[in-house]
């Protein structure tokens, strides 16, 4: 599947308008150099390009950035750490928020609108708008925005799972017989959540990766999302390939993990 993604990305980027153009062409001082470089690139056919890119990846060489003329790995390595930290902190905070909120909302007799409304509102606001609002009120950073966005989605998931757990026949029986909620939580509700963690992780990772780009771009965080955005704008194929691959691998692992835990649960 990674191979297909690479081929697809290369084709899409190569044939997107503007691949063989450079802003320097408009500036008379630099136009000649730019045009020479572009005509050299235009002489490569698409099969040659594919072979060069894929061959490079087979050898472990991720290529040289078209925009910065440095090896792609040099660009990516520091950013991996930054994005990784942002994702981990965002997901951890999101899980904590979602867990607290869903515990409180599912325990009641009726579905609590008090908790559902903020979640629904957060789901409705686009990531970019939320990030801009945070910048404007001068508080809240990328971690908070990512956590809020993830928490809204995780909340829906957890709320449904917890609600089903509370309405399980044996739990209802225990409540009717007066067993304390705290004990029920510890012994029955929370353990019932464990198999769902795989699916929750998969959902969180997929949502986080898709929200990474607008958040990093607006808050100017030097991570993978910002690199991907700049690479897309500048048609920097090697960098875009590398970042797309990393994200595809992340999503694949997440969904693979979720399948494994589902299979384990159903076994």
């Amino acid at each position: 599947m990674i191979l297909l993604v690479m081929v697809g990305t290369t084709l899409l980027v190569r044939f997107a308008p503007g691949y063989l153009s450079d802003a320097r062409e408009m500036d008379a001082r630099y136009a000649a150099v730019a045009r020479a470089e572009l005509s050299a690139e235009a002489s490569h056919s698409i099969t040659q390009m594919l072979r060069a890119e894929l061959g490079g990846w087979m050898r472990g060489d991720s290529g040289v950035s078209r925009e910065f003329n440095v090896p792609v790995w040099v660009l990516i390595r520091p950013r991996l750490a930054v994005s990784g930290r942002l994702l981990l902190r965002g997901i951890a905070l999101a899980w904590a928020l979602a867990l607290c909120a869903s515990l409180l909302s599912s325990a009641g007799r009726r579905p609590s609108l008090l908790w559902q409304a903020p979640a629904a509102i957060l789901l409705a606001v686009p990531a970019a708008a939320l990030a801009t609002l945070c910048l404007l009120v001068n508080s809240g950073g990328p971690v908070l925005v990512m956590a809020l966005l993830l928490a809204a989605r995780d909340f829906k998931f957890l709320h449904r799972a917890l609600r089903n757990a509370w309405l399980d026949p044996h739990v209802l029986q225990a409540r009717a017989q007066g067993v304390r909620p705290r004990h029920l939580l510890r012994a029955h509700i929370l353990p019932a959540l464990l198999p769902q963690l795989g699916a929750l992780a998969s959902l969180s990772i997929v949502t986080a990766l898709s929200a990474l780009v607008p958040i990093e771009v607006i808050f100017n965080v030097p991570g993978l999302g910002e690199l991907a955005w700049n690479a897309a704008i500048n048609r920097d194929l090697p960098v875009l390939l590398a970042v797309t691959m990393i994200m595809a691998v992340g999503v694949t692992c997440a969904s693979f993990g979720s399948h494994r835990t589902t299979a384990w649960r159903e076994a």
Binding site: P17, E25, R79, L135, G140, F219
Partner: protein
């Protein structure tokens, strides 16, 4: 429920510290250090290979040059050279270096280093963009007559040869260091990709101020790599940045309100915003459309229908001046006060169109061929003022019965259409003029040039007036007489105003922000507007 209370406490405990985490901060400032932003990572630190804006920013601050083009007085001044002369035929240039010059590492700078640096720039293997300015770099020869004299022999006269040396850095012979060992006011000390470039003061810089203190005053400069304007302004207001070199018009009012006195409108810049129609014979447009765009009456009518005052007032919030020519009033040497150009006159536009065979059918204008006049204006995304201008023009031209669609594309796709496929009808873009001398615009006006936007790379001039423009521009490039040059350029301006190949819209004003703590700033209309005298800038309160 205790569970309820505990969970609520956990909630609050988690949220509060996160809420206080502000967005990305700027790094801590060193004492005496000036800080501002650049838009992206410089592509190279090698001064000979500079071919983009931010690399040039770093080069300007670090490179020691023989001659400096003073951005304020617009005169070429000796810098590392104590004096220079040009022979009457313009083919020999002689420099005498100052005595006692040193590089930032303490080694002495002699004519040998100057010759080595000049030869390196002229070498084809270096592929230095500035070599093109010599017209025939392969035939230029450089020699050191003695320790302090350099002679350059040119194969032919080059107009403005002094300014060319403003872009050639003198580096230690045989030791190119990518900006780390320089003879300029600063040298490159740190570079963290995507974060910042740090420059440190050159203790051996030759220049002293009037009182005898060594320049530069600042201990260093940090150039943060930041493109987001919102962030830039936020951090400027916090005092993290000392200046903003070019402010978009929508933010001017905000800055003026939050920090009165910091935001400055310096009047019209040298740049122009213009619209043009695709007149290229090889474009894939239908023939009847090409005939409209080639019709002078059509272009002039469009120009007369546009309300330039509204464009300046609404799209630029008043921070722009209506434009009628490619030379802005800020270009005091070349501006032609007596130019006669079409101003806003909708009735005249309608009459001219009618006379050219266009007629109205209800609210729609039909061409002489009977097709309704419908075309698109292409512009780039990310520029709010340009998109607003395009929408305003859409309504203006609607009054004539023309149906205009506004299409915004991202820059690479736009350039692809302009330069490669010529698949567009009208385009609205801006032109940045770094050099006030019209000679720098040769590539725009020569009909054979690929940058001759409305009809690139013509084998022979398509119309008599384009041929005339070619003749006049070639004349001004080869003559030594200032009067002849002036007359030729005035004539070109008049032809352009008559024929409207470019419909000039506005000259955007130069908007900058300067921190109240920054002293020594003398804004200039040429780039770099605020930091052309970086060696004389300092923060108040630093020794």
């Amino acid at each position: 429920m205790r569970v309820l209370r505990l969970t609520l406490l956990a909630f609050a405990a988690l949220l509060l510290p996160m809420a206080r985490t502000a967005a990305a901060q700027a790094a801590a400032r060193r004492p005496g250090e000036l800080v501002w932003t650049i838009g992206y990572d410089p592509k190279t630190f090698d001064p000979a290979k500079v071919d983009d804006q931010e690399s040039e920013t770093v080069r300007y601050l670090t490179a020691g040059v023989l001659l400096r083009f003073n951005r304020l007085t617009q005169q070429v001044e000796p810098e590392l050279a104590q004096s220079w002369t040009v022979s009457p035929d313009g083919r020999t240039v002689r420099f005498t270096l100052r005595p006692g010059l040193e590089f930032s590492d303490g080694s002495s700078l002699t004519a040998r280093d100057a010759v080595w640096s000049l030869r390196r720039v002229l070498l084809p293997a270096t592929k230095a963009p500035v070599a093109e300015e010599f017209l025939a770099p392969g035939k230029v020869s450089v020699e050191a007559v003695n320790d302090r004299t350099v002679v350059v022999h040119l194969p032919q006269r080059v107009i403005g040869i002094g300014k060319v040396f403003d872009e050639i850095a003198i580096e230690p012979a045989g030791r190119p260091s990518e900006g780390r060992i320089t003879s300029g006011p600063f040298f490159v000390s740190d570079y963290l990709r995507s974060q910042y470039v740090r420059l440190r003061r050159n203790p051996h810089f030759f220049r002293h101020d009037a009182a005898g203190h060594a320049l530069p005053y600042a201990s260093g400069i940090r150039l943060d790599i930041l493109e987001n304007t919102e962030q830039q302004i936020r951090l400027f207001l916090r005092g993290d940045y000392d200046l903003i070199d070019s402010l978009p018009p929508d933010y001017f009012a905000l800055l003026a309100k939050r920090s009165p006195g910091s935001a400055r409108d310096l009047g019209p810049s040298l740049n122009t915003e213009q619209m043009w129609f695709n007149q290229s014979p090889s474009s894939p447009l239908p023939d009847w459309e090409k005939s409209w765009f080639r019709s002078r009456a059509f272009r002039v009518a469009v120009s007369q229908a546009i309300h330039r005052d509204d464009l300046a007032r609404i799209a630029y919030d008043g921070h722009a001046t209506p434009a009628y020519s490619f030379i802005s009033p800020a270009n005091t040497v070349w501006y032609d006060r007596k130019l006669m150009a079409p101003h806003t006159d909708v009735a005249a536009a309608q009459a001219a169109l009618a006379a050219a065979g266009f007629h109205r059918q209800g609210s729609v204008l039909l061409g002489p061929d009977g097709h309704p006049v419908r075309f698109s204006i292409l512009t780039n995304t990310g520029n709010a003022a340009r998109s607003k201008m395009a929408t305003l023009i859409q309504q203006d031209l609607g009054a004539l019965g023309m149906q205009v669609t506004v299409v915004t594309l991202d820059f690479p796709a736009l350039i692809d259409r302009l330069m490669n496929t010529q698949n567009y009808e009208a385009c609205l873009l801006g032109l940045e003029n770094v050099d006030p001398d019209p000679n720098a615009m040769m590539n725009l006006w020569l009909s054979s040039s690929p940058n001759h936007q409305w009809s690139p790379s013509e084998k022979t001039p398509a119309t008599p007036w384009e041929a005339e423009i070619d003749r006049l521009m070639n004349l001004q490039a080869s003559t030594g007489s200032d009067t002849v040059r002036r007359q030729a350029v005035d004539r070109v301006q008049q032809i352009v105003a008559d024929q409207q190949p470019f419909i000039y819209l506005v000259y955007p004003n130069l908007l900058v922000a300067v921190s109240p703590r920054l002293e020594g700033v003398e804004p200039a209309v040429l780039e770099p507007h605020l930091t052309w005298n970086a060696d004389s800038l300092q923060l108040r309160g630093t020794p």
